[in-house]
Symmetry: C2
Subunit: 336 residues, 2 copies
Amino acid sequence: MKRITIKDLAKHLLLSTSTISRALVNDKNIHPDTKKKILDAAEKLGYKPNPTALNLKYGQSKNIGFVVPEMITPFSSTVLRGIQNILYPLGYRIIIMQSDENPLIERKNLLLLEEFNVDGIIINLCHETYNHDVYQQIIDRGIPLVFFDRIPDKSLDAPKVMVNDNIKASLMIEHLIDTGRKKIVHIMGPSTIRNATERAMGYKRILTKHGIFDPDLLIKTEGASFEHGRIAAQQLLSKNIEFDSIFAFTDTLAIGAMNYLLEQGIQIPEEVAIASFSGTELATIVHPQLTSVEQPLVQMGEVAAGLILEKIKDNTISNKTIVMDAALIYRASTRG
Amino acid sequence: MKRITIKDLAKHLLLSTSTISRALVNDKNIHPDTKKKILDAAEKLGYKPNPTALNLKYGQSKNIGFVVPEMITPFSSTVLRGIQNILYPLGYRIIIMQSDENPLIERKNLLLLEEFNVDGIIINLCHETYNHDVYQQIIDRGIPLVFFDRIPDKSLDAPKVMVNDNIKASLMIEHLIDTGRKKIVHIMGPSTIRNATERAMGYKRILTKHGIFDPDLLIKTEGASFEHGRIAAQQLLSKNIEFDSIFAFTDTLAIGAMNYLLEQGIQIPEEVAIASFSGTELATIVHPQLTSVEQPLVQMGEVAAGLILEKIKDNTISNKTIVMDAALIYRASTRG
DNA sequence: CTGAAAGCGCTAACAA
DNA sequence: TTGTTAGCGCTTTCAG
């Protein structure tokens, strides 16, 4: 079942390979009749261009790397959808690497992608500073690197796609206060993640403004999994800390915490309101459904894909940081 | 930032490209000193082999297609992890395509993968029979095609990885009966999916054996999303059908149904016990946690990857169907 | 308008 | 032990 090539067509039609190629690439220097004959034959014999040959010729792999902390939650898969929307029609392939929230694996993944000869990499960090050298190295080697969601600090000059974590977190806290909550816990993600500190800053600022900031209510976690959320809630209860609401760094933390509270017989939202930050479907598949800051994940993917295409076309253009809007969606977990 | 090639090394060291190549591929016909010199230079200049050139040379793309109905739930991402475990170390890239549970998109994806020149495809169907012709065509063209989870009927000769849906469903129903449930609803998936009919058969067989099968308790859905689960639960209530438990085709259906019942103030598991079939993390992130048949997803991925490697190596070997074991995990949703 | 030939990076006969 | 050459599939000068 050998692939049929341009050569086979040439032999079949007693023409040169260059003529065949001309017909196929819509070159003007070809007689319409010849062209038609070739196209018909190509169709009949089931000719398919070999992308590998083109890649070699043009020095591109048409592969884009996509590096994310995990794909278990819908967060990255949703962003991926946006990326695919843009990149697949253009003939790009996307290679996905999961870092398991482990900077060492992230590092390995990045190096592997370089081996794979990708034309660019879109990445959501698992740890802000750990692999700074590798990011810089990749950029220096001329491979476009686009960051989204968890981006590195300003010292790294690269295209970035993000939302305004600080402000959106502030707004969510304002909402909790508006609905009568006073003892607002924040389950903060690891401070090695920029978003975690940004969201925490928004939280702190508003509470301070209202004169109700209490450091005991700020719980820092080691990670952002469901389990970390559970543990945070457990801590709150075991320390006998009084609270009437929780704002969590992510859906996963919020859900983990909520489930633990529910298991302890605590009423959500009557006794404790819960709000999160993400934009994944997870917020709506739990009961009660979660109030949360919803990021436009698909569009973030599309924008990231657009940025990488720009850089692939011309690596010298200056790097944009795109700040996207996120929406506060109020659901049952903060009502009542 | 041009990539450095074998040619650059040759020029640099005043050697021929073949000698360079020999050093790089560990050929024995080379003087140790020369070899060392070359390897050192390669290291120093940052030489990286160009996979595209090799692919062209050997007629392989080292790309494997992975086609799934969706990646929003952790199901496919977990299987993917298993596939990556096996395939990444071997230098394969994995191209992921989501079919959105739409046979037309699945068809398009498959065709696109063919264009992409993949060496093989691992697929979880979104509809059993609709694209039968394309599957056959791909196989006929010599591209190994491995099915997992939702597999096609016997008429298609290809490697398959599955669990024993029928038996495991039966065991779960027995469990519900053992714990005192008598009016057991089954939320069945679309009958265009083989697993759905298999699991439904297990359900029906056991209930019939116990003389308590009631066709009114078998709800067929149009899909397997959370929303479909909600709708099913809604139907049950609006039709005033009495039931004390639900066995759902998937986690998603179970969760959708459970949330609807919870919203209506129905106690889970006191009034209605819920069990599902899947093996994803979803079962443990809801409250109460779901009893379910857990498939060994990572291993399924590893096995599928193994099967495709076998077929890539020798496409003439006969096709195996691997039936994996699944475990019944009892959680809070069926207690009490 | 068409053909011949070179070249993308690499390997593998075949010579030397 | 090393060098020369052809070729993987395709496009693109350069001749004709």
